[in-house]
């Protein structure tokens, strides 16, 4: 038996990230453990940065695309991996000034392992691979959520996340096994081929719903969203950012891949004049519940992080609208939306983290007069909030615009118009709570004797960069959309 290492070549970016994760651990143990925390965080953070950048460079140079039974490498997957690595890089930088734990090496190692899971998830073409990648992603995230041992909320959030996550994973695994039982296949393409030929049995629908639940959990779609507010609030700020941005981008992409590639034949219908069983009505129900529930619950929040969590649930609902678009429009609209949303929410949560650090809490009152106390942070938050609300010319406006047009035009006779109307109404409600935050920042005077709020450079720089990107993608949405369409066309998705 000869030992061939060819199978490792397509996975080199993932391997780079994993190697650097181990390197972060090794550096920590061997060299910087006893140094002062500032140096230690910087050295290990730099190692993690190097891992992300190295993987990005490798992806940027590599052109060996191809598809096997397990994995697919296409310009599209590489593009999304680049975006994910970029988001992870921002999180790494944001963490540089975190002081919530003494386990620096483990922290960065887990972060990089989760990133590797994300990347693997993007490439997976096989339900089993997808499940494994999901777990590679999830387990480090459970741990990372609990990393702030000084706060009870962190542990509580982690436990809820873990329990809910494992139940969802169990559902998914059960669904996958049912599918395997029915079709004898695990590859997405093969499953679709089987589903196309054989009659659809009721148990098939059960399997469908079970499989989807795992992803509904990942994207925090109602009613599988309960973990999200706790995690956003309780997890260390950079980890909340990671969960809200990178993890969501990857999950939406894989969800799209599964329902279109794997469950394509049991699409069903959710148009007002054409309700048929399949994944479309399931996603429509999830979308309505998420948009309505997320937005309404957000109205009552007094913590900005929880508010952002509910808003994230609502945004997950908007994103589900893309699934009703036609094949040509849906993926560009979905990916444009989730990528720009990830940038925006990452920035907003980072600002919330900065405020929380210096104001001991992120209650609304802590934000009063931020416009005076930290003008730059306030302006960035202003941009993020308006983008989330969907005000032009910010990226959020075009994200929603593409989603809504894709959904409205996707089915014949404007079949999905009802869902678009629900979405528009829901986003009108959302403006209320976004403006509440801005009102605190700009209209409410700072409490007497409040000091100017100083954010570290490691936080300010990425936040300002993200705000700039939100404006750029809002003013020139064509570039990102054009890139997405181009990689899609060359990927035969």
């Amino acid at each position: 038996m000869t030992l061939s290492l060819d199978w490792m070549i397509p996975l080199i970016p993932e391997e780079i990230v994993i190697i650097f994760a181990l390197a972060a651990l090794a550096v920590d143990f061997a060299i910087v453990r006893r140094m002062n925390p500032a140096v230690r965080w910087r050295v290990i953070g730099a190692t993690a940065c190097a891992g992300c950048v190295g993987a990005m460079i490798w992806i940027g140079r590599a052109t060996n695309y191809g598809t096997s039974e397990m994995l697919a490498l296409s310009p599209l997957t590489q593009f999304i991996k680049l975006a994910l690595l970029g988001l992870a890089l921002v999180v790494v930088v944001l963490s540089l000034d975190a002081r919530f734990t003494r386990h620096t090496g483990e922290y960065y190692a887990l972060l990089l392992l989760a990133t590797a899971g994300l990347m693997l998830l993007i490439s997976s073409e096989n339900l089993l691979m997808i499940f494994i990648a999901l777990e590679i992603l999830s387990v480090p995230l459970y741990v990372l959520t609990a990393f702030d041992k000084t706060r009870e909320a962190s542990a509580e959030a982690a436990l809820k996340y873990f329990l809910f996550g494992s139940v969802a994973a169990a559902f998914t695994l059960f669904g996958i096994s049912l599918l395997y039982g029915m079709t004898g296949e695990l590859g997405l393409g093969a499953i679709a081929a089987k589903l196309r030929t054989q009659p659809v049995e009721p148990v098939c629908y059960a399997a469908l719903v079970m499989t989807l639940i795992g992803f509904a959990f990942k994207v925090a779609a109602a009613p599988f969203h309960f973990w999200a507010p706790d995690v956003y609030e309780g997890a260390p700020a950079p980890i909340a950012c990671f969960v809200a941005s990178a993890s969501k981008v990857a999950s939406f992409f894989v969800l799209a891949k599964i329902v279109i590639d794997g469950f394509g034949p049991i699409r069903g219908g959710a148009a007002w004049n054409d309700f048929r069983a399949g994944w479309m009505p399931v996603l429509a129900v999830l979308a309505v519940l998420s948009m309505a529930g997320g937005n309404i619950a957000a109205l009552a929040q007094t913590s900005v992080k929880r508010l952002l969590a509910y808003s994230a649930i609502a945004h997950g609902g908007y994103a589900l609208l893309a699934f009703f678009g036609n094949a040509r429009q849906m993926l560009p609209a979905l990916l444009f939306y989730v990528i720009t949303y990830a940038l925006t929410v990452l920035g907003a949560l980072a600002v919330a983290g900065a405020v929380e650090n210096s104001a001991n809490g992120d209650r609304m009152a802590a934000w009063a007069g931020l416009g005076r106390r930290a003008p730059l942070l306030a302006v960035c938050m202003f941009i993020f909030m308006l983008s989330l609300a969907g005000i032009p010319p910010l990226a959020g406006f075009f994200g929603k615009f593409y989603l809504f047009t894709a959904a409205a035009a996707g089915q014949p006779h404007l079949g999905m118009l009802w869902l678009v109307i629900v979405a528009v109404g829901a986003s009108a409600i959302s403006l209320y709570y976004y403006l509440q935050v801005l009102k605190q920042i700009y209209a409410v005077p700072p409490p007497a004797g409040a000091m100017p709020l100083r954010a570290s450079r490691a936080a300010l720089f990425p936040i300002a960069l993200l705000a700039a990107l939100v404006i750029v993608f809002g003013c020139a949405p064509g570039w990102l959309l054009g890139r997405l369409s181009a990689v899609l066309n060359s990927s035969a998705f």
Partner: protein, 674 residues
């Protein structure tokens, strides 16, 4: 030549950039502003010299360069520039004169507080004028043409705090705009007929044989060829810009601007742009043997020449006299173009540019020396006080009058008269031209006698005796005087270099041509005309040295009614005031009335209605919608609290809800939608 023409755009671009930088300077940066303007124009002059040398080369007569400006649907709009002898000679003239006049302005404007702005506007003007000259597209020409109009407006109204200056600026802008309307219409018509506005484009241009033949063959109203109709519309633009009858009224008033402006813009360059335009469009004007357009040009020019010269006889403002003289000379140029072709008209344009700017700058020097006095009746005896100014002014005056052999105006005017003499259509233009020559010499003699001869007249209230101007002003005068004399030798009948150059021929030296039949006679005739006019002028005005404002003009004593007519410029301004302006005022009053009574009433009614509706709407809003909305909002907030209650932090409940959700979804799929 081709490699030169590619960079020809730099010639207007450099002054334009300088104007742009100058516009950003603070008012105190006087040296920088003047330096930029003069430096920019010097660069343009050097480049023009290069272009001129290139155009002398034997390789080709004309070179063009075309760039695409923008796309409009399937059509693209090209702009282009070209280099041919006409362009080259104009470039040399404009940049050289502008450079001298900029330098002269250093002295003349030295005490003005808006010195910086002045040089910015002058640079802008220079750029626009050079744009006209190099344009190979009627569109580019038109753009520059309008920019020239704008800068002329800005510079006439430079002292806008004087009401006359502001009014004159407005008058100039509006009057020339009437002509520009014709030019615009002609341009549009030309574009619709020929499909291009490029003059020369390797056989596809609108001034090239194929297009001209098409335009000349098509007929329009009354059997007139389209080419003729378009030519006449374009000529309307030239009439406005060059102050020809009946749109000449703005040019004398334009003298309210600073004197260097009068010299550069309203004597040498901008007003000559009309003549240049006709010269540029000459192939169109004469297309297919239709000469109607050129006949119109001739008659307008000839009548203007006499008419303006007559008015000049009875003016007392030193600048106004030469302003009318300018109108008259522009008439000569037009006549020259009409009867003799491009070379004849252009030759007078070039010589005139030198001696007329010389006269204007000399007048400026006189005004400067007399502390702002412009009335020639209050001057006198300046010959001794301002010797340099006198000597150069005399050279310019003799060039203008056409004193034989040694002065440029003689040769160029003689060319025009010769061409008019042999013009087949009518002998009248020749007679008008000769009469104009007589009048020209007469009024110039009158002016020079009163200003420079006799005893120094101390007008009541004059602060100090007149003084000579500084060197920065007299040196340009001297340079111009040299050119005013020498320029004529470029185009004598014996050695017609200028004419050959413009027509792309080889020049031959033929002294015999001087003595050939109509030539000699005509030279003698014009010499006699000028001599008689000088004698008459000296006889009448030379002895009446110390004039007082009360005393009547000798001519006025002899012919009171005619003098009154001339003094009041044939009452043309009054005529326009009584007709066009009054009509316009009446129309404006009508529009005002409509606006105040009719529209205001309608607007008021709509306003009232809107207010009433708004009241009604607000009542509905308050009582109905608002209450409902408040209830809705309360409901939403209540729902929010309810949902928060659902999220009570107990993970067991979360699981239960997830399980229920799964069951409901699965069952709904299986039974509900199946």
């Amino acid at each position: 030549m081709q490699h030169v023409v590619q960079y020809l755009w730099l010639i207007p671009a450099v002054p334009l950039v300088m104007a742009g930088i100058g516009a950003l300077l603070k008012r105190e940066r006087r040296r920088a502003a003047a330096g930029l303007a003069i430096g920019g124009m010097a660069v343009a002059w050097v480049l023009s010299c290069v272009a001129f040398v290139a155009s002398l080369g034997p390789d080709s007569f004309r070179a063009t360069c075309t760039v695409k400006w923008f796309d409009l649907g399937d059509a693209s709009v090209p702009l282009g520039w070209m280099l041919d002898p006409l362009t080259a000679i104009m470039l040399m003239m404009v940049t050289f004169l502008a450079l001298l006049i900029f330098i002269y302005s250093l002295g003349y404007m030295a005490e003005d507080e808006n010195f910086t702005r002045f040089f910015c506007f002058m640079s802008l003007f220079g750029a626009a004028m050079l744009g006209i000259v190099i344009a190979n597209s009627l569109l580019l020409l038109f753009i520059s043409w309008e920019l020239v109009g704008l800068s002329s407006y800005l510079l006439i109204g430079f002292w806008f705090e004087k009401p006359q200056a502001a009014a004159a600026a407005k008058k100039a802008f509006i009057t020339t705009r009437i002509g520009d309307m014709g030019l615009l219409l002609g341009m549009l018509w030309l574009y619709s007929k020929s499909g291009t506005l490029l003059f020369y484009d390797n056989g596809h241009g609108c001034l090239e044989a194929a297009s001209l033949a098409r335009l000349a063959a098509a007929a329009t109203l009354g059997g007139m060829a389209v080419s003729t109709a378009i030519s006449l519309l374009i000529f309307a633009g030239a009439v406005g810009k060059s102050g020809q009858l009946p749109l000449h009224v703005w040019l004398p008033d334009a003298m309210e601007g600073p004197t260097p402006v009068s010299a550069l813009i309203h004597a040498a360059t901008m007003v000559a742009a009309g003549v240049f335009l006709v010269a540029r469009m000459y192939p169109l004007m004469s297309a297919g043997g239709h000469l109607a357009a050129l006949e119109v040009v001739t008659w307008v020019g000839a009548i203007t020449a006499v008419f303006a010269a007559a008015i000049a006889v009875a003016q007392n403002d030193i600048k106004r006299i030469i302003a009318y003289s300018t109108i008259s000379q522009l008439g000569y140029m037009m006549m020259g173009l009409g009867v003799g072709g491009v070379a004849v008209g252009m030759f007078h344009l070039i010589t005139h540019a030198f001696f007329k700017s010389l006269l204007f700058l000399g007048a400026g020097s006189v005004i400067h020396g007399c502390h702002g006095e412009q009335d020639i009746r209050k001057m006198g005896g300046l010959k001794k006080l301002m010797p340099w100014t006198f000597a150069t002014y005399a050279a310019g005056m003799m060039a203008l009058c056409g004193v034989p052999l040694f002065f440029s105006g003689f040769w160029s005017k003689d060319e025009i008269l010769r061409a008019a003499w042999i013009w087949p259509s009518s002998p009248v233009p020749f007679c008008l031209g000769a009469a104009g020559a007589f009048l020209t010499a007469f009024y110039m003699m009158r002016q020079v006698s009163w200003v420079f001869f006799g005893k120094p007249a101390q007008a009541a209230g004059a602060r100090a005796p007149a003084h000579e101007s500084p060197g920065v002003m007299t040196i340009p005068l001297a340079v111009l005087a040299v050119f005013a004399v020498l320029a004529g030798f470029l185009g004598t009948p014996a050695w017609p270099w200028f004419q050959s150059y413009l027509n792309g021929e080889k020049v031959r030296f033929e002294p015999a041509a001087l003595l050939a039949s109509p030539q000699l006679n005509l030279m003698l005739v014009s010499a006699v005309v000028v001599g008689v006019a000088f004698l008459a002028g000296w006889k009448i005005y030379g002895n009446v040295a110390a004039q007082s404002l009360r005393a009547m003009d000798p001519l006025q004593k002899a012919l009171p009614a005619f003098y009154r007519l001339l003094e009041n410029k044939f009452f043309i301004d009054e005529f326009y005031g009584a007709t066009v302006v009054r009509l316009n005022t009446a129309f404006a009053a009508l529009a005002d009335w409509l606006d105040r009574v009719l529209w205001t009433g309608a607007v008021q009614a709509v306003t009232r209605l809107t207010v009433a509706l708004a009241r009604f709407d607000s009542a509905i809003d308050e009582l109905g919608v608002n209450a409902g909305f408040d209830a809705g909002c309360d409901g939403l907030r209540g729902a929010g609290r309810g949902l928060s209650w659902l999220q009570n932090g107990r993970v067991q409940r979360y699981m239960r809800i997830a399980g229920v959700a799964f069951s409901v979804l699965a069952l709904a799929l299986i039974w509900g939608c199946g």
